[in-house]
Symmetry: D2
Subunit: 293 residues, 4 copies
């Protein structure tokens, strides 16, 4: 997991909660950065730190040896790649394009094929670790694609993350990411169901959490999210609307493959109900509101 | 969490995977132990170590200042307490009776009332920690009942466990235990769904587990059970039939209270399908077989 | 299937929405009727019409050649049979005892065994048709038990109902009844989900119902219950708490047999949520309130 | 509702189980028909009866005053409209284009907008009634779009169907169709769960069906499909893969709107499992195989 990276011309499309700190780390490591975002004002901080602002995804791609996209969902990515001013038409021969959005494995494979037609190389590389991991440069990347391409990308991955896993051919990164998020969504949903049960039975939710933390049920996500559920405070770290989208992508994949996922399907409906009733952007731990509406 | 226990006359009913090592620790700590089990041969090891074998639950209760039951389900406990030769009729005035089985909170409250009528004191005290925790004397007790009674029981709890939590009045221990098992059952079910998805997509399950162990989804239960799921080896540590029973008890409680538990309900049907198809006793991690049948 | 019935001494325990009109039809047919109900005032109308009021289930059973119970759930039936003043202890040798409550098949078999010990004959005979069917004497009976016993019971069945089906040994009537109610509960739940979908999409629910009534989805239950869902009026015909109980009994049976019922399990949680939030007694079509709370 | 239809130049794209008989009825009514199908041989019968075979969807659209599409799913429709040789580019000004496929309401609205740009008028008009209804000219159409356009289309609808319902603006037809199929899918799934329960309990499924047919649970779909489930014969009338697709479309719509559909979600996973294990094309009543695999 090397880190010494020769300065490169890097393009970064998508400057949300994750994209901005990723860009900042790339600048700090001495790379030349061209950025684009649908809402241009989100680029201010990066531009102030030395990034160039492109007028379109196309312009960002034209300027880059290494292109990264980090957008919220498959339609947003398709727009950025193939919409008016899209990046795909100006992707440089021999460049590496790495998508860190969470999308369907099928779309990852479609992008890989389009890149190959242009002589570019693709990696699907969704991440976990949250905005906090993005800031600290401690993201975990789940990679699908060619081993040699990954080898070449490692110095840049090392600027943004601390670990990466080569999981298989194109789409493998997305498949594992969807599987992971399914697990996280169900862990929080299970905690919410358990809290709803004990509190309706007249007990304190804090007691349940205290016992869980001494037990085999203890988990990273429990440590971080249990306070949200107990306090009913859901400032978005990973937004519920994105977790809900990822559950949809996981179920779409499973239904294409004919793999039944009964608990995931049940949980998606619970997340959906909370999303439907929400007036504001909420963390995914707000699935707890299903029992408090 | 004191441990120095004056030797007491203790009764122990139920000598399964958990009861036997609990009894052995009580003997080692110098207590006088009277035991009973439906299949008497299960008592051999304890008798060889100094325990007396009672002819009935009634006889075991009559001989005890402190009575413990550790049986597999509510009907087994009702039989032991109120069936022919049942313990309740000979429970000593002022004795403490502690049930460590997993049962419904309603049954725990019914037992507490029956004890009060006889002048005995009751604690519901289900445990977590598995047979390994029972052997090491490192169980975790979830306690419902009176604080003063718990105080008096602590020296004996300290022989079998390392932690205990006073969670509320009678039934509170069982309520929290059911909530905990709901979470454990869903954590394993979520892992099984995720593994089914990635393997059907052509990837290696081992890769998913490796990524999870570097992520927020890491948990105690993942560490211990993932190898079972990957190898397809399900020697019972906590039997699936008991986890399935506990999911039923959790859902019964929730349905009495009118608290919907959609993911738990979905998971119970998956456990049920595996139980229905199983030819042998399996660990609850065998829920994975739902996707391999 | 009607037959001329020689006047008999009949006992009837349980005078709710169903029991009262059943009793009235028995009186009209010329039978001698002894009744009992926990709340005695419910017997007034029948007593005015010629029924004798027993002081206990025991007294009702002692006076009867043919005993009928029609109570709300398994605990109520166990109380009536085996509680203080219970019917079982005075059941007449050679009498026929027919239970028309909806209970578990296991309890039906336990009752059959207890009857056999006393030389009495048992039929499990739950009904469908609602209070309207009870009034018109047009109930449908689902029978488990011995064919010869059923033959003997037919003249009395013919007074209360228009059809009966001999479905197998003891418990078979209850098994089929639970299967039928699972279907009715899911038909209404499916209609509620469909109405929630189209109305949230901005369309009129009435339009959906109009289309359904011209389609293969048309059903008896749709005809009768769709107006309730459209108007949001849920005066109990078959109470939601009883349908919720029956879903629980169906799932208990299925989980004992290891038969997964994913949609039934999902529906039960929806009914449970409505039950938990309800301030009053509602028809089971009020499951629609899950989407309007 | 039949009306005398002046002969028109009609295009028909999609000649599957439904499209072929629809085309035959249009020919019989004296209309001039141009057809196209991906597999051209499916047009043989219609060509023999007088239809012209177009070389592309584009050519079919260019020749038509009234264009009908009847394909299997949204991607197939997008290909036919916007793929190479697609119909949209040659849609005649002032023509009426009616899509009778089952697709998402969002795609219906997108098509309507594209038609408006070209000066053409669109109706979403999915059908129910099965291949049998298509042959007899007794389909039921669920219409979204403009009332005046529908008025003009009625003479042609009357050739293929016996009823049509104007349900609202573009997309309304598809919304109601998805709601209807959700109900049909759950009715069959409920029957399958009930049959699995009674047969595993040792009873005959035929008995359950006999009782149902005398009860409020009786429905059109029960009459037609119960024999399939009892015999285990699943020759496709409405293919399971299409019902599974429609459940996915219904859930997609509901999840966009934030409407939870727990039972529908559970049922989709069951259909998915059967689809995943199937070696051949099956009727949707084959969801029963979930319990027999």
């Amino acid at each position: 997991m090397e880190r010494a990276a020769a300065p490169k011309k890097i393009g970064l499309i998508g400057l949300g909660l994750m994209g901005r700190p990723m860009g900042m780390n790339l600048l700090k490591a001495g790379h030349s950065l061209t950025v684009w975002n649908r809402t241009a004002s989100r680029a201010d901080e990066l531009v102030a730190a030395g990034a160039k602002l492109a007028k379109s995804p196309q312009e960002a791609a034209a300027a880059s040896e290494f292109l990264i996209t980090m957008v919220s969902d498959p339609p947003a990515l398709e727009e950025v790649l193939w919409g008016p001013g899209g990046a795909m038409q100006s992707l440089q021969r021999d460049c590496i394009y790495m998508d860190s959005s969470t999308i369907s494995p099928a779309l990852a494979r479609k992008i890989a094929a389009a890149c190959a037609e242009r002589g570019a190389r693709f990696l699907d590389a969704p991440v976990t670790g949250g905005d906090w991991g993005a800031k600290k440069g401690e993201l975990l990347f789940m990679i699908g694609g060619d081993a040699a391409t990954l080898k070449e990308a490692e110095p840049i991955l090392g600027v943004m993350g601390k670990k990466w896993f080569h999981l298989g051919p194109h789409g493998a990164g997305q498949t594992v990411k969807l599987a992971m998020n399914l697990i996280l969504a169900l862990q929080i949903d299970a905690l919410a169901e358990a809290l709803a049960l004990v509190t309706r039975a007249g007990l304190q939710g804090e007691k349940l959490v205290e016992v869980l933390q001494s037990s085999m049920a203890r988990s990273g996500v429990l440590d971080i999210k249990a306070p949200n559920l107990l306090k009913g405070e859901y400032v978005p770290s990973f937004p519920l609307r994105l977790m809900h989208k990822d559950l949809g992508l996981a179920l779409d994949l499973a239904n294409q493959l004919g793999v039944p996922l009964p608990a995931t399907a049940a949980a998606r409906e619970t997340y959906s109900a909370v999303k439907g009733a929400a007036q504001e952007d909420l963390d995914y731990s707000a699935v707890m509101k299903f029992w408090k509406a």
